[in-house]
Structures are given as structure tokens and as C-alpha cells.
Amino acid sequence: MSKPRVASTSLAGCFGCHMSLLDIDDRILQLIELVDFDRSPIDDIKHISQRCAIGLIEGGCCNEENVHVLHEFRKNCDILISFGDCATMGGIPAMRNNIPLEECINEAYRDGPTVYNPQGITPQDPEIPLLLDKVYPAHEVVKIDYFLPGCPPSADTLWAALTALLTNQPVELPYELLKYD
């Protein structure tokens, strides 16, 4: 029987959650025994190739491409996990949610103190995805099955959650893996 497939992506995140995933260290060898990786920044596969058991979502949605990727994950994964605070709550990127979008763009590309843009151009190349009016946590866009909080969730948290799901055990994380202080 083929191994279950796992896909992962980083949307409006910093890849820190993926770094945390790598922090499982040599357990990654055990993980590879359990699963095959599909689309993921780890193997650089660009699109999900076949049905996956689990999709790991880092980051919320700040632009249309994030939404597009998230849709692809929802359509092709049995279980979606928001991992990390950005996916769960919007996190740092969502700090812009109280500032009008135009003001954000002006500050970043036109008026900021370190910006050199004498013609006052705003980026509008079709290759650049349009920003959303605000940053949305993943579950505002699609149904999310599990949430792993943390900035980032620790390697142990990820390991415990993934192995539980892959071995059909209930995901019951001890308090130590969910407290952050």
C-alpha cells in the first residue's frame, strides 16, 4: 500500500513554521518512512500531483495567489492543518488590517522614507498578485480541520500532531506543547 501523502505551503508567513518542521531533526527520516511529501517548499514541487492525506498551511492569505494556493490545498487534501499563528489568526501580517490598503501601498512603494521612486509608480505588473483588502486567517477562506498555535509551533508539537494523525491516534497535545511563555 502506498504511503499517505503530505503537502505543505507557506502563504503570508515567514517560513519560520517550516523551519520548525525541519527542527524535528533526524526524526525527518522516520517521517519519510511514514509519508511521501507532495507539493512543499521542502522538495520544491510546484503543484499537488495527487490526492493528499494532509495539507499543512503556514501563514494566512494576504494576496490573491495565497487564496489560489489555499483553494488547491482544500480541493486536494483530506485534512487541512493551520500551523502557526499567522495561519490561525493572521499574525504579524494582519497588523496592516487597521490601515487602509492604499496607505500601506503608498508607504511601502511611494512615500516611505527610504523609498526612491521619483515617478511615484505603484507596482502593477500582472505577475504580481493583487493584495487582498486585508489579511485573512486561513479558516476565513476555507474549512480548516486542525489548528496548531505557536510562533512557530515547536518541532515536538508538529511531530506529535503529525504522527498522531498518520497513525490514527487522537490528536491530544499535552499542555507543555501548547503553552508559550
Binding site: N63, E64, E65, V67, H68, H71, R74, K75, L80, L101, E102, I105, T122, P123, Q124, P126, P129, L130, L131, L132, D133, K134, Y136, H139, E140, V141, V142, K143
Partner: protein
């Protein structure tokens, strides 16, 4: 400016420059200048021995106070769901048209201000509005133009009263068009009683015996929480402190309730008698009636009652010849804040600050008003206490059920033929009350107001009691024509407005509950949203600081429990896992306009 200075000095002097009377001071300043000018904040602070920020926080907290200039005439339309269902929105539109302004605006000539306000306690004669302190009931859009014409000609709202109501509403000091609508008088409060007989008997007993009698009677607080009145009095009596206080909670803000309005109109003496008995039992010399601003039209009448009692030696020093028993009462006016019905908020307000609830412990019985032992009881509880003193605890406890003794006043309103006050023994079935009120075709009854619960036909067989259906008195009836979730959303809107903002679960949680409910009502929700409402509702209930937040999720939680099919019909899942509430086209609209191009990924 100098006239303002002298006026403010004058007002503050009248209250002995006492910071604890800040509520009265700013109310008078508002009356004098049609608002509390920001320039006056510092001045008031200086002359009342407090800080500018205290003045500002009081003015900004209460909805009847304003730092913006208002008209001589302020119209406050009651915006409660009962009023809306009886045509309140149309009345509102007509008002806007007749005045040519929107809500929260003042006419160009600066004479008339139009506002909306939460339930003003007239749900049995809705829609209603307040014109300054005058209440106008049974409004229709047709009546509005004439009312406005009249107000333009003569800004005295009393001239709008052409016909006064029954009973003491016709008293020269009241002169209100309000009707009592007493539909059923029960044995305890609304039947004839022997005036002050309870007080006379009390004075022949020791305070301990009085408390023992109240305990034996099984009397529980009538405001809704149902704490044992005798125990409360005993604790207040035994708490250390030389000054003790008796407070009467007449801040009847729970939407749909109006029983205290009727009690203060028709049983003012009984209320004062009960307070005096409490003072004797506890050892208090000072009492305060916290009267909600909406009932300001009863103030002069109540003051007069108090004067009559002083003249008859029923208040004052050595009451009825009882050496050393001194007790007097003052009225503290509220200024439009629902949360002040919560006892610790009520105390804060009496002390001249924002109506913020305070932490317990210590409980008010230990450290309440002025950090002294304080018994806060509902208007109706004092009436019961006075009757127990006269008729005996055995008589009282023989009425009602084992754990809920006596009678309960119910304010029945909404979709029924006979809205009004029903005094029924505890244990009376909801279905009986609905039948007597002429309510057929009932889909839902909100028992106990928004902070109570919304029940459906399956619960109509339950009795009104602390064990089954507990209520402070509000009973709103909704027919099958009504959208139950519209009611629920209106209630959540009410709590969002009325949260004092102190604690996060209540300040933020209620907004989130309301937003998610809106999503579900729009048909954009999923089953997950219902789970979210349940979870968040429980969190708000469990983690809020005072009774407001601990009960504010009840409309959502009780409808999720009792009207689940209504919700389920709205959240039919298509199984795609895509949230219907997220609209990508709308989300990229702004960026698309800025970039001057359409979305390359998502385009229609």
C-alpha cells in the same frame, strides 16, 4: 464663559463639592447648557474635588450625557425589538423626515435633537419615545407630524400630553400618558394592603427577628439573580462598619421589563416601607433609590412621597417613635446605562463614577457603597419584604413553590392581545400566562429579557420559578411571523452597545458573536460557524467580569439549543470546504482599482 463658571460653581456648591455626587452635578450642567461642554470638564473637576479625566469618563460613559451641544428638546426613540416589531422603524423614518435630520443629529435651528435609545420600559405600549423626560407612548407614523409641529411651536413636551394614564399616572406630579396595564393583581403586591402595617410590626421586633422572618419566608431577589434576601441582609448586618446602606435598584433596564415602573407609580409607599424595614434590620441610616433616567418623569412624585413620609415620621429621625432608629432616602438618577442594573456598577454610579462593575470579592454586603456594607435589592423585593413583615413568613411561603416562594410580577409584551403586568404565584406555567395574555400562535418567548433565555413551545409547559424558568420579569412574546434570529441579532446588538468595555470577553466577544450570527443569517455560514458560536458564547459567559457578560451570550446559546432547526436550515453545507462568507472578488476590488487592472487569477 463667566456665566458658565458661576453656574458651575453654583451647581457644585449645591452638592457640597462632593465628588461622589458627580452624576448629579453633570446632569445639572447638561440641563443648564444642553450639554456638558468640554471646556467645563476642568472646571467641574476643580469644584467637585476630582480629576478632569473622571468628569470626561462619566460624560462619555452614559448615553444620556453629551459633550456636544444638543437641542432644548431631545427626542429619544425607543429602539428595542418589541418597538421595532410594532412599527418603531416607520416611526423613526417619519421623525427623520419631519425634522429633516438623521438620528444623532440636531435640527439646523439647534432646537431639536433626535436619538435612539435602548428599551425605555414601555414595551406594553410600544412604540414609545422620550421627549426630554416626557414619555410618549403608542406612536404611529401618522401621529408624528403633529407632535413635531407642536414641539416647534412650544418646546415644552408636557404640552403633548392630552390624556393622562390611569392611577397615579394622573397625579399632578406625574401627568404622564403612560398606562399601568395591570392585567392581574396577585395577593402579595398588587392587591390592597395595610399601609405601613409591616413597618409598625417590624419596630416591635429585634432586627435579628426581622431578618429571621425574611429568611423563613424564602424570599429571593426579584431582579433575576435570585439571591436569598434574608441572607443578604444578615451578611450586611454582620459585616463590620459603622455606616451601612440600603440601595434600591430601580434601574430597570432589561429590555421588555416594566414592572418597576408600575411599582414606583402605584406602590411607591410599599417600596419605601420595605427599604425602611431593611434599614432597621441591617442597621442602616441611609438609603438610595437608583432611578433610571428613563423614569425621570416619576422623580417629583417619588420625592413628594418621601416628603409625605418624613412628615408622617415614617422616614427621618426616631421613626414612629422608635428611639435611635433614623433612616432617610435620596434618589440617585441614572443617565442611560443598562450595566448600572448590575449591583456593583450601580454602586459605582451612585459614587459618581462610570458605571463600571467592580471585582468581587469583596461583595457589596461587605464593601459596597462608600466601601461600607450595602444591601442592594430590587424594587419588587422591597415590596415583598414589607408584605412579609405584615402578613408573616408562613403566609408568604405558602404561595409559590418550595424553592420559589411568593409571587412574581411579569411584564408581558410583544405579540399578544393583552400586554401588561401579571402578578402570578411562582410555579405558574408559561403556557397559562400566554393564554391569559391572549397570545396564540407563539413561536418563541424570551423569558427574562435578552439576558434570560429564548424558549420554544417545548418549554411552554415549564413553570415560572428559579428552578425552571427564571426571570427578572421580562417576558417578550414572538409569533410565528417573526424571525427568531432577527430577535437574537437585535439582542446581541444591544449587548454590544451596553457593554461597559472593561473586560475583553464581553467587549470583544459580543461583537464577534454578533458578526458571526450576521454571517449565518445571510446564509454564508457553515456548521463550523454554529460550533464557533457555541464555543465563543460559552467562553464569554465563563470569563466575563460581571453579570452582563456572563449572560450576554444567552440569546445565541439558548436559540442554538431551543431553535437548532432554524440555524441548520441556514447553514446547508455544499461540502466544497470553501467558505461562502469569503468573497475573493470583493477582497481584491480595492487593489484592483489601485493597480488599474483586473485580477489575472480570479476574474468574472
Amino acid at each position: 464663559m463667566s456665566t458658565m463658571t458661576s453656574k458651575i460653581e453654583q451647581i457644585c456648591a449645591r452638592y457640597d463639592h462632593d465628588r461622589a455626587r458627580l452624576m448629579d452635578i453633570v446632569r445639572e450642567v447638561q440641563e443648564a447648557f444642553d450639554h456638558v461642554p468640554r471646556e467645563a470638564f476642568g472646571l467641574i473637576a476643580e469644584h467637585a474635588g476630582t480629576h478632569r479625566v473622571e468628569v470626561e469618563s462619566v460624560v462619555s460613559f452614559y448615553s444620556f450625557l453629551s459633550d456636544k451641544k444638543q437641542g432644548d428638546v431631545v427626542i429619544r426613540l425607543c429602539d428595542d425589538i418589541i418597538d421595532r416589531f410594532q412599527g418603531g422603524d416607520e416611526v423613526g423614518e417619519t421623525l427623520c423626515k419631519a425634522l429633516n435630520i438623521n438620528f444623532d443629529e440636531t435640527t439646523a435651528d439647534g432646537n431639536i435633537t433626535l436619538e435612539k435609545t435602548a428599551c425605555i420600559g414601555m414595551s406594553d405600549q410600544a412604540p414609545a419615545m422620550m421627549v426630554n423626560d416626557t414619555v410618549i407612548t403608542n406612536l404611529t407614523p401618522e401621529k408624528i407630524p403633529a407632535i413635531i409641529e407642536q414641539l416647534k411651536a412650544n418646546p415644552d413636551p408636557q404640552t403633548l400630553i392630552t390624556e393622562v394614564g390611569d392611577g397615579n399616572n394622573a397625579d399632578p406630579l406625574v401627568q404622564a400618558m403612560v398606562k399601568n396595564n395591570i392585567c392581574e393583581a396577585g395577593p402579595v403586591i398588587l392587591s390592597d394592603y395595610r399601609k405601613d402595617a409591616g413597618l409598625r410590626k417590624t419596630l416591635t421586633m429585634t432586627p435579628e427577628e426581622v431578618i429571621e422572618d425574611v429568611k423563613t419566608s424564602g424570599l429571593r431577589g426579584r431582579g433575576g439573580a435570585g439571591f436569598l434576601t434574608g441572607l443578604k441582609w444578615a451578611l450586611t448586618r454582620s459585616s463590620p462598619g459603622t455606616d451601612k446602606y440600603v440601595l434600591c435598584n430601580a434601574d430597570e433596564g432589561e429590555p421588555g421589563t416594566f414592572k418597576d415602573r408600575v411599582l414606583l407609580t402605584e406602590r411607591a409607599d410599599l417600596v419605601l416601607e420595605g427599604m425602611t424595614i431593611a434599614a432597621y434590620a441591617i442597621g442602616a441610616e441611609t438609603g438610595i433609590i437608583y432611578l433610571r433616567a428613563e423614569y425621570a418623569y416619576l422623580r417629583a412624585f417619588l420625592e413628594d412621597k418621601m416628603n409625605q413620609r418624613r412628615a408622617a415620621n415614617l422616614l427621618g429621625n426616631n421613626i414612629l417613635g422608635k428611639e435611635g432608629f433614623n433612616f432617610d432616602v435620596r434618589i440617585q438618577m441614572g443617565a442611560g446605562a443598562y450595566v448600572c442594573g448590575e449591583e456593583t456598577s450601580l454602586i459605582s454610579s451612585c459614587e459618581g463614577t462610570r458605571g463600571d462593575p467592580t471585582d468581587r470579592t469583596p461583595f457589596p454586603v461587605v464593601k459596597g457603597y462608600m466601601v461600607s456594607p450595602t444591601a442592594v435589592n430590587n424594587v419588587e423585593s422591597y415590596c415583598c419584604a414589607a408584605r412579609i413583615a405584615d402578613m408573616g413568613p408562613g403566609w408568604f411561603s405558602s404561595i409559590g413553590t418550595g424553592k420559589s416562594t411568593g409571587t412574581k410580577l411579569l411584564s408581558v409584551c410583544g405579540d399578544c392581545a393583552r400586554p401588561g403586568i401579571y402578578e402570578v404565584p411562582f410555579g405558574t406555567r408559561l403556557s397559562d400566562i400566554l393564554e391569559r395574555a391572549g397570545a396564540d400562535d407563539v413561536a418563541c418567548v424570551c423569558v427574562g429579557g435578552p439576558s434570560g433565555q429564548m424558549v420554544g413551545p417545548a418549554q411552554f409547559g415549564l413553570g415560572i420559578s428559579y428552578e425552571e424558568l427564571s426571570t427578572g420579569g421580562s417576558m417578550m412574546v414572538f409569533s410565528n411571523q417573526r424571525d427568531i434570529l432577527e430577535v437574537t441579532e437585535a439582542f446581541m446588538e444591544f449587548f454590544v452597545d451596553e457593554s461597559c468595555g472593561y473586560c475583553v470577553p464581553c467587549r470583544v466577544g459580543n461583537v464577534l458573536l454578533k458578526n458571526r450570527l450576521e454571517r449565518v443569517r445571510k446564509g454564508e455560514g457553515s456548521q463550523g460557524d454554529l460550533d464557533y458560536l457555541q464555543r465563543l458564547g460559552e467562553s464569554v459567559k465563563y470569563t466575563s467580569r460581571c453579570g452582563l457578560g456572563q449572560t450576554s451570550p444567552n440569546p445565541v446559546l439558548s436559540t442554538l439549543k431551543n431553535f437548532r432547526p432554524v440555524y441548520n436550515a441556514l447553514v446547508k453545507d455544499n461540502g466544497s470546504g470553501m467558505n461562502k462568507s469569503f468573497n475573493i472578488m470583493k477582497a481584491v476590488e480595492e487593489a484592483s482599482a489601485i493597480a488599474g487592472r483586473r485580477s489575472e487569477i480570479f476574474h468574472a
